[in-house]
């Protein structure tokens, strides 16, 4: 039964509970369910980890404190002291993407980061927020961001449009990077897994070994992409706050 469904079948969105607001479909789907699972699991782990401040921390408390330190150091190194007010947002973003990616590796669970609308929603809001922060912080001086310093004036008519396009390209490449990595990895896993079924007991061992290796790589990519998304968010925030080119 499962074999004749294509490798892209896992990305299909099914409605679990139909909700209609006027003419808009806001049903509770399997994507929403896995988001809910990820958010509640993250909240539960962090609640248990920060509940009692023992002098000898247990495993969950160490996990919570390590991930807190990791992001706090990332914000401090990449944004500086001005980035402290934005730490909660960046930490939440990191956990949301990390849990989405890693829980997506659990069989039968849906990977919500493999849908471009989810990642583009995150990246688009980050882009808008960072631009607004930059404009509030620097006013009209924010436009200096698009003028590279130390360049002859004759080159500016070419370089300013290039700078503007390369600024506008940020949310697109940020969202596409996470989406393409998750989607390609999961599709490849499914394709190689279908080879096991096709080759049977005799020849199926080679793709099985490959699938085991690829699963390990996929978990690594899941963590790496969450890290990359977060650090790029930090770098964009740094550009808006400190405005040096």
């Amino acid at each position: 039964m499962a074999a004749n469904k294509g490798p892209l079948h896992q990305f299909e969105i099914n409605s679990i509970y139909d909700i209609k607001l006027y003419n808009t479909d806001i049903s509770f789907t399997n994507s929403s369910l896995s988001m809910l699972i990820a958010v509640s699991l993250a909240s539960l782990i962090f609640y248990i980890g920060s509940k009692k401040n023992g002098s000898t921390p247990n495993r969950i408390q160490i996990l919570v404190e390590m991930s807190y330190d990791f992001i706090a150091n990332m914000v401090k190194d990449n944004v500086g002291n001005g980035g402290k007010p934005y730490f909660p947002f960046i930490f939440t973003l990191f956990l949301f993407i990390l849990f989405g990616n890693v829980l997506g590796m659990v069989p039968y669970n849906f990977t919500y980061t493999s849908h471009i609308i989810v990642t583009f929603g995150l990246a688009g809001f980050i882009f808008l927020g960072v631009t607004i922060i930059g404009i509030i912080k620097h006013g009209i001086n924010f436009l200096k961001f698009f003028v590279p310093s130390g360049v002859p004036i004759a080159l500016l008519p070419i370089l300013i449009p290039i700078e503007i396009i390369s600024y506008l390209v940020r949310p697109v490449s940020l969202s596409l990077r996470l989406f393409a990595n998750m989607m390609a990895g999961h599709t490849m896993l499914k394709v190689f897994a279908s080879f096991i079924v096709l080759l049977g007991v005799l020849g199926g061992w080679a793709p099985l070994a490959l699938v085991v290796v690829l699963t390990g790589f996929e978990i690594m990519i899941a963590v790496l992409q969450a890290y990359v998304f977060t650090i790029l968010c930090c770098l964009y925030l740094n550009d808006a706050l400190n405005l040096h080119h």
Binding site: I162, I165, V172, L176, L224
Partner: protein, 92 residues
Amino acid sequence: MKKLKELEKKLDKVKKSKIKDNKYHERPAVNYSIAINISIELITGIGLGVFLGLMIDNYLQTKPLMLIICFILGTLVGFFNMYKALKRYKFF
């Protein structure tokens, strides 16, 4: 003394080979992820250039002009971003 010098030479060799190994491992082992990341930098630049060109053309009624200009600018941005990504992965 001779033996000591020989030993030092051997140690240098081992150290150099270890450094080479480390440099090789600086790239993450997941090569298809690198390929995706690098090609995305190029594609998004060109794609956004074409999209912006079409939108501006639609708005200003200058049918092919802005599309051509924005396509060229987008390609420049795409290649520049790809160069930066390749540098990040230490291909340059």
